[in-house]
């Protein structure tokens, strides 16, 4: 069995040349970007196709349209999985970008703290709106 770390080593030998091995967090982060990427490929392209191309596209989207879709657990699960993976993939991507451009520890830490806080808040908001959805609200 090849381990994830071996695959990573094969592709990024330079990451292992320093005195210490890359942290296992970095290895899993690298692996997660690829696994979530493959899943998002399907989830996001289907999402874009349904929402922006089929029928009259985004012009037909309104509360009633959402209510019809979220009547099914299948679509709720689809949307939640996409939210979960895209948010983690995107936040992890931004973490890598921040590491590249913000080199001073105080600013880097502050921006990352802000990013992680936002991610937690958005994950809760996105999950809550799917799970607690009530088609009769405001009617």
């Amino acid at each position: 069995m090849t381990t994830v770390e071996q695959v990573y080593q094969k592709h990024r030998p330079e990451a292992f040349e320093a005195k210490r091995k890359p942290s296992s967090f970095e290895v899993w982060s690298w692996f997660f970007m690829r696994i979530s990427g493959v899943l998002l490929l399907f989830l996001v392209l289907i999402h874009l196709f349904i929402m922006h191309l089929v029928g009259s596209g985004v012009e037909r989207v309104d509360f009633a349209f959402v209510a019809r879709r979220w009547d099914s657990v299948g679509w709720k699960t689809f949307d939640w999985l996409m939210l979960f993976l895209a948010l983690l993939h995107g936040t992890n991507g931004l973490r890598i970008v921040i590491d590249d451009y913000l080199r001073k520890p105080p600013l880097r830490t502050a921006v990352k703290a802000l990013l992680y806080t936002l991610t937690v808040v958005l994950m809760i908001m996105g999950t809550a709106v799917i799970v607690t959805f009530d088609p009769t609200v405001g009617a």
């Binding site: 191309l53 009259s56 958005l122 996105g126």
Partner: protein, 161 residues
């Protein structure tokens, strides 16, 4: 409700503009590095520009995703708020931005797939240029018809026709 809808639309606007500023910064930063380093590290080529495009589209997509989670949260407050907020996306002049979003996603998805293929089957990277050109061809093949059909409906709705 109207004020909250406008606030959410404003948030989407700020995030989008912010990612545009980042895209500009990144290109300027790269050109500066290329000038400062006449060696081999920043000499461009299809791989480096794909990396730039992957990063810019990635950051743009998260920026939009953040705003999009907030606007979708409005669904929980009923049709009055949600239908008003979502109208931003339904203006005829918003269509070019929507096309840009679809294009960015498509590019990031195909390019991400190319990166993943090279990572798990490193031999394929020997033909990296051919893979890049196949990727661009696939991108055009999928994006051109999508952009055409999306723009067509917007042009029909615009006041110019």
């Amino acid at each position: 409700m109207a004020i909250i809808a406008k606030l959410i639309e404003g948030l989407v606007f700020i995030l989008t503009a912010g990612s545009g500023v980042f895209a500009l910064y990144m290109v300027v930063d790269l050109l500066r590095l290329r000038r400062a380093d006449p060696g081999t590290a920043y000499k461009g080529g299809v791989g480096q520009w794909s990396w730039v495009a992957h990063r810019i589209t990635g950051v743009g997509l998260v920026a939009f995703l953040f705003g999009h989670i907030v606007d979708t949260f409005g669904v929980g407050f009923g049709p009055e708020l949600y239908d008003e907020t979502i109208q931003l996306y339904q203006q005829w002049w918003f269509k070019p931005f929507e096309v840009l979003l679809v294009g960015a996603t498509l590019f990031h998805a195909l390019n991400g797939l190319r990166i993943i293929l090279f990572d798990f089957w490193p031999n394929l990277a020997l033909k990296q240029k051919s893979f890049a050109y196949v990727e661009f061809a696939l991108f055009i093949a999928a994006f051109a018809p999508a952009a055409f059909f999306m723009m067509r409906s917007a042009i029909a709705d615009s006041p110019f026709i």
